[in-house]
Amino acid sequence: MENYFLILIGTVFVNNIVLAKLLGLCPFMGVSKKLEAAIGMGMATAFVLTLASGASYLINQYLLGPDLIYLRTLSFIIVIASIVQFTEMFIHKTSPVLYQVLGIYLPLITTNCAVLGIPLLNVQENHNFIESLFFGFGGAVGFALVLITFAAMRERLEGADVPLPFKGSAIAMVTAGLMSIASMGFSGLVK
């Protein structure tokens, strides 16, 4: 149990997938201009990432085995793409409200490299099924957390008197850098 807790703390704060692992940056930069959108994206990603992490574990373990490792990337990406598709269809059918909130962000998730990166890291770090789920979920929560705080900061920044060349994505990058500095304070929390 403690192990899972540490995985969570580790992925959310210490090795945050955005700020420390440098994954999922495109949506991090792209969907953070509005707080509301960031919240939607964060939730959608959390859902898909957890699923993808578990599913790709199963694929890797039972479908590929040690012989077909060269199909890993291929099968992972296909599985992820389908999960995204199915999630979209599923919530479209079952919950129009949820679809309103998350629907438009789902297709964007396929281009979030964390969705592939986390399963690959799972393999690299020999996680078991439950660990994979926690790792995926923790990564997603970490992603959502920084995405949302980042979006709030960018909304504030809109009014700031930023020097012209830095307006827009440049200052956003610098902000992400300073966030990354802040998050380095947690290094060493999980040995």
Binding site: G30, V31, K33, K34, A37, L63, L68, L71, L74, S75, I78, V79, S82, Q85, M89, H92, D161, P163, L164, P165, G168, S169
Partner: protein
């Protein structure tokens, strides 16, 4: 692996037919932002078509001249894209104006009436035409068709009740502006 591909292909094919993209709600949102002057200066035959083009990602957001910078900024906001300067020929914010028909000269040819996108002109054939001021959007589309050039555009005065407070300018914001010009 093959099996996986077959199954996925089937499902995707099925799904793509079943869940064809339905009407684009974005277009309505864009349309709501456009000023509905229907002037066609954006290069599209009216605001709705321009909205559709934006919705489909085929048009930049900086083409609407009457809407000016404010409209562009709201579009940028809605679509989550970086604001773009107004296309050069659209940059000047025009003062609000309405058309005015010189009733003595008008010959009642109905040509302006047919051109007006918002039916702001009333009148029958061979009768003098008059413009309903409150409906006129000032798009100037009625000017070219008039054979006797009896339509003129008149500025709407702001008056005390339409007066707006100006953006406060004080030393700091002044220098800020200077700095922006310089860089």
């Amino acid at each position: 692996m093959l099996g996986l591909a077959v199954v996925l292909g089937a499902v995707l094919g099925f799904a793509s037919l079943k869940f064809k993209v339905e009407g684009n709600p974005l277009v309505d949102k864009v349309d709501a932002i456009l000023p509905q002057i229907q002037c066609g200066q954006c290069g599209y035959p009216g605001c709705k078509p321009y909205a559709e083009a934006i919705g489909a990602g085929n048009a930049p957001i900086n083409l609407c001249a009457p809407g000016g910078e404010a409209t562009m900024l709201r579009l940028a906001d809605l679509l989550g894209v970086e604001p773009q300067p107004l296309a050069a020929e659209h940059a000047a914010d025009k003062p609000k104006q309405v058309a005015f028909i010189d009733e003595q000269t008008c010959i009642g040819c109905t040509l302006c009436f047919q051109a007006c996108p918002v039916d702001a002109i009333v009148g029958a054939a061979k009768q003098m035409h008059t413009i309903i001021e409150s409906e006129c959007t000032g798009c100037e589309l009625c000017l070219p068709p008039c054979p006797v050039d009896c339509i003129t555009m008149e500025r709407v005065d702001e008056g005390i009740s339409g007066w707006k407070w100006k953006y406060p300018v004080y030393p700091i914001s002044e220098t800020v502006r200077d700095a922006k010009v310089n860089t």
